[in-house]
Symmetry: C2
Subunit: 510 residues, 2 copies
């Protein structure tokens, strides 16, 4: 039987339109009327708050403290960077005035008499202003390491925007650290990459490949850039987090020096690392289906939603009481080490409308309670990760009320795990490792959902690397990273014919 | 014996300089190099994170959901407001360009070819953009109430800034709600005022007077503005939170309409309410002393700090092990319904320097552990709220290690309560209620730390109110609010001689 799905468009039909439909139908976000900026609605923002809290716990557990730096950065701070850093991006929002004045025609204009002496830039990242603070804070080896993080909004003027994936304003965390030695800074870079990797796998249930970016994909000024890359359902790669070892490059331009134990002055080694609201785009394209979003239980603002099936009848009262007792029971229990987040949805709407609203939002468990359930001491339970039966009907299962609460932690853990396993199987099935020449690479990306290809190469640099990048670009491909856990190499580089030294992932990407 | 205090300046000597000294010495915040914007350092930001989490819990418990709206607001959104709202503030940061370009002399300038067609304003508040969203979201009475909140940075260009109290950029939460009826919106306004009042008292340990602002102090466009006012140690008032009933004023200019159950269109009634990083300024001026800050345990990023007294001797190892066991014991316990936040300070610094650093930061409990403590199974415990003995020496008490963990929740609760009681006594002693004429009012504010005066008045409006405001202004006084729990009136208005209808608080203010 053909299933009539909840979304107006299917993934197979038009992936980009499907993505937008999920965002709209799941009440994730909407256009704001401000170019490239979105309004993040409660369900979308609730997921972001969960990401924040769980990632923040991990950032603090690894010894970092949160700070807050100004949203405005004086233009002069960027001049040094622009001079020294190739690839420095200049698309930034610039504040030039500090007052509005009437234009005499009922409108407002920037007041010419309130022009700033030095324009201010709305932070695209806080690298420069935090570097200046590090230079003030760090004098001696005793002051090191400095391990800080900031949760903030940042702005990068984007010409083509897409909700969550590329917006002019986005929310993120940016970690910045300074260390006495190269080894310690490299260890920090890898530690935070591992935090991102395990967070994506364990919390977002989104499998990723962690590895080092090739030279041409490094953050401008970085000595090493590492990333986690996730495979979306259309086969494209999404870079979901990066961790940079900056060596002494930034310390040198920002004068971050310390006196070592021997009394000599040295430049500090710094790192930076970030994850953003882009992760929500990754979550949608990893777990969404043709009925909307499916949120992994650890990230769901509401893990269990209870929908009473009311009929404006006398028995309604008993149904609501039964639901309230269930909600209280669940909220008093714990899953993943936190109280269960259970909502009783008492809004004035039809219960079928509520069911489908929560299905589209992707609440992991929806429980419907009607008069028959109350009479029988039962619940009608829908698992969002297994929405349909084999016959195409919604798989709503009548289960005894007794024992449901005691089993809810296990149920949620099972859903978390099943989403993760499903995504991991898809990613693993989507990576080809048998391509050995350019013709094969070209063929591998001919289909509709080409997936990724892992090949071995000689890690060329300079002009030789540029040549590889250009050949890939012609196929709309990029090198994502060198997976940490890739197999050993054996044979020649696919691009240069020279002996291969490592394996890399090649893919189309967001 | 004269005590030599930890700060370079005492409250009595120069309150403003003392305030700045606390901020510096407690590592709360520092100048950023950007006019009017501060860097909030880990200890200051840690307190803000505690405020956020505990206030957010209360905001959610009263049914609100968090959203996120853009940092930029198109200039045209303000034109309507500027037309209709008297007192509309025009000091805002205006973005006019979206790209930087080289000036050919090694510098950068806004790119003239990247001038925005419509300038963007960095949000001073999100009233207009949220109002526009409400107009999209609300169609029917079924959509009401809409109860949302946002945590964000906002910018108001300030000429004279002071850390935490008045900065060009600050952090806050802004709640915005829409309701079907006046009564419901008024109830919401008062509910959130009560959230702020109880949060200030119970969490910040900062006593406040909650009440309605007089007409001249209302938020532009509001029908009612309510506030909580706290008394600082110099006797001045600090407005620490406001809650506004906006009637249909904003709904009317932003077209927020709904179809009622009878099918007729009505304007919604809206509210808004906010609390900001200003609260940290209030915390400092309420609880700080001449040795630095004293943070109420519920807000302290670290409630108990353990300082091992090491001597580069073999016994150091045993001391550190003893301290680690203590830290683990405390971290496994609960206070105020949360895990105890206990830090073992292993930084390379002298233990006396650490003691005083934590005293200045105001950690509620500092525990020093030396060889003698380990040998005797003891701890040397300093309570920050009772730092000195009667003889002027630091009150470090040797207590048995056994039983300390079991009593830590009670100890922290006692410190929380003692700070609250101390502040409450000071506020109550600082409010005079015996002033009945202008001469008396003038005399009441002649001293150094004049406190507040509560008087009765006839609640004049229009020109009569203006006259009162002017007379007060000449004395550098303002009307703070009409306390909710003020005594009944009896007699004449101090200003107009007409029959009094209510009591108001008059004070100097930040």
């Amino acid at each position: 039987m053909a299933i009539k799905h909840a979304l107006p468009v299917a993934r197979e039909a038009d992936f980009a339109a499907w993505y937008q439909a999920v965002i709209t139908e799941a009440d994730m976000a909407e256009e704001s009327g401000v170019r490239g900026c979105m309004v993040i609605r409660p369900w979308g923002y609730g997921i972001w708050e969960r990401i924040q809290r769980l990632l923040d716990d991990r950032i603090k557990a690894t010894g970092h403290e949160n700070c807050y730096f100004p949203v405005f950065i004086p233009l002069s701070y960027f001049e040094k960077e622009a001079e020294h850093v190739e690839g420095f991006a200049k698309e930034m929002a610039v504040v030039t005035h500090h007052r509005l004045i009437s234009d005499g025609k009922g409108g407002l204009v920037p007041d010419p008499s309130a022009k700033l002496e030095e324009p201010l830039v709305v932070r695209p990242t806080s690298e420069t202003v935090i570097g200046a603070a590090f230079a003030r804070w760090i004098q001696s080896w005793r002051d090191l390491p400095v391990l800080i993080n900031q949760w903030a909004n940042v702005v990068r003027w984007e010409m083509r925007t897409r909700m969550f994936l590329r917006t002019s304003e986005f929310l993120w965390q940016e970690g910045h650290t300074a260390h006495a030695s190269v080894a310690e800074a490299q260890e920090e870079t890898r530690r935070m990459l591992e935090v991102y990797r395990s967070f994506s796998e364990d919390v977002v249930a989104m499998p990723v490949v962690a590895g080092e970016k090739p030279e041409n994909e490094r953050f401008p000024g970085a000595v090493e850039t590492w990333s986690i890359e996730a495979m979306m359902q259309d086969g494209k790669a999404l870079q979901a987090g990066t961790s940079h070892f900056l060596g002494t490059n930034f310390a040198s331009s920002q004068n971050i020096r310390f006196q070592n134990a021997e009394g000599q002055f040295e430049l500090a080694n710094t790192t930076s690392w970030g994850m953003s609201t882009r992760m929500i785009g990754g979550l949608i394209m990893t777990h969404g289906d043709d009925d909307g979003l499916r949120v992994p239980p650890r990230l769901a603002p509401w893990q269990v939603v209870i929908v009473p099936m009311l009929r404006d009848a006398p028995e309604d009262e008993a149904i609501v009481a039964y639901c309230k007792a269930l909600q209280a029971d669940l909220a008093g229990r714990s899953a993943f080490g936190e109280p269960v987040r259970a909502l009783l949805d008492l809004k004035s709407a039809k219960s079928t409308a509520k069911r489908w609203a929560w299905v589209k939002k992707g609440a992991p468990v929806v429980i419907e309670v009607g008069g028959r359930d109350v009479a029988g001491g039962n619940l009608s339970v829908i698992r969002r990760d297994r929405l349909y039966r084999d016959d195409g009907k919604v798989d709503s299962r009548v289960v005894p009320r007794d024992g449901f609460g005691a089993g809810v932690a296990e149920l949620l853990a099972d859903i978390q795990s099943s989403l993760h396993i499903e995504a991991r199987h898809r990613m693993e099935a989507g990576i080809r490792r048998d391509v050995t020449d350019m013709a094969g690479l070209e063929r591998a990306f001919e289909g509709e959902k080409p997936g990724w290809v892992e090949v071995q190469w000689s890690r060329p640099t300079g002009a030789a690397l540029d040549a590889v990048v250009e050949r890939l670009k012609a196929l709309k491909l990029t090198i994502r990273n060198t997976p940490i856990d890739a197999a050993a190499v054996d044979g020649a580089c696919l691009f240069t014919g020279q002996p291969a030294v490592e394996r890399i992932v090649v893919a189309r990407a967001y």
